[in-house]
Symmetry: C2
Subunit: 226 residues, 2 copies
């Protein structure tokens, strides 16, 4: 736990956004009984269905409350198989090398507010993947055509110090809740290709945020170089 993880670690579980749906393209990369690690699993929106489909799913998150929610939710569904939920920090994963066939990150990197930490996280994901394994990544894209986002990128820059980052405020108290980063295609591609992955799949998409804004997004699958 360090400064970086404090907001996410102490947010109320129900306040953690989880808005991007798993793209069906993931099933091009799964195989029966494969081991999947869901980094930043939140309340288990991706982990729980994947486990119930028969995959061996481990979900990690930094927030203990949201992991409790995920656990309860997984048990309430009477599924054939449930994920294992583990409290862990994505920068130093508590797993041995090459433990997983697929790592997924859904709107997770957006919460990591320095380039250096993102690099460390991608390398760490690479470490725990089998050679030839896949990193499935869905995240927000910079949405300059939206006047609302354009203004936020510009106005929040003196605080965030990174283009494309925005400040999210608590809707009740008005206080800063967390900072989120929106990516450019170039940025996301280089984050993968410079840290152990080849691009296996890439698409531009549209997502809807927790507050109902339409925003650009990407779905990318990187293959760990063998």
């Amino acid at each position: 736990m360090n400064d970086r993880t404090i907001p996410w670690s102490s947010l109320k579980g129900k306040d953690i956004p989880a808005t991007i749906k798993l793209d069906h393209v993931i099933h091009r990369f799964t195989s029966p009984g494969c081991h999947i690690l869901d980094i930043g699993c939140s309340a288990g929106n991706a982990s729980i269905p994947l486990a119930s489909q028969g995959f061996l799913v481990t979900g990690i998150d930094i927030n203990p409350e949201v992991l409790q929610m995920a656990r309860r939710s997984s048990l309430s569904r009477n599924s054939y198989q449930v994920p294992l939920f583990v409290r862990a920090d994505a920068i130093t994963l508590p797993f041995t090398p090459e433990s997983f066939d697929i790592v997924i990150m859904q709107a997770f990197l957006t919460t990591i507010i320095t380039k250096e930490d993102r690099v460390r996280i991608i390398r760490e994901a690479c470490r725990v993947l089998q050679p030839g394994g896949y990193l499935y990544l869905a995240d927000f894209g910079q949405t300059w055509h939206s006047g609302i986002y354009r203004e936020r990128y510009i106005n929040d820059l003196p605080v965030t110090k990174e283009e494309g980052s925005i400040i999210a405020y608590d809707q009740q108290t008005g206080e800063v809740s967390y900072i989120a980063h929106h990516f450019t295609e170039k940025e996301l591609v280089f984050l993968l290709v410079e840290n152990g992955f080849e691009i296996e799949f890439f698409k531009n998409d549209k997502f809807v945020t927790k507050t109902g804004n339409r925003v650009n997004g990407f779905v990318a699958v990187g293959r760990k170089e063998a």
Copy 2:
């Protein structure tokens, strides 16, 4: 005519690519009998159908040969109405202010290889539009997830001096044929909002180039501030 226009002015008409189809969203902005200016009309792929739908279309291009092709093609179709084709340079349009309701640019800005000229062209389009008129713009986006384009953006940078620009070679002679620019969303949005337009419509798209590569693209409609 200046240095900038030489390659496009002297290319053989049949060698001028014209690959992006007109998006049907344009019909949200047309009205019966409206005046449309098609900048960089090439062989008339957009102008001719629009004229046959009853709009009053003027197509301009810097290349005399392609204008001949466009003219012949328009006559051969036995349409109710054909466009007027005019040889002109987009930087200094031979039209009085507020002459048009809609200006279209299909894969045209991609051929303009300096930021300064792009600004002059957008301002000139603005000048000839009615207040409240629309600029419809479809163009190529930087496609970093493609290994082929990623390599070209990087390798061609010492020559093009602008990120996202690529060199197109003549497939017979191997000589440099022209330079093309691919845009970021931010770049295209600011080109409009800093030069007289509000963003009225914006979408991320996929286009196929003359040589069959899939490439990111944008369709944007700007509204001239009244």
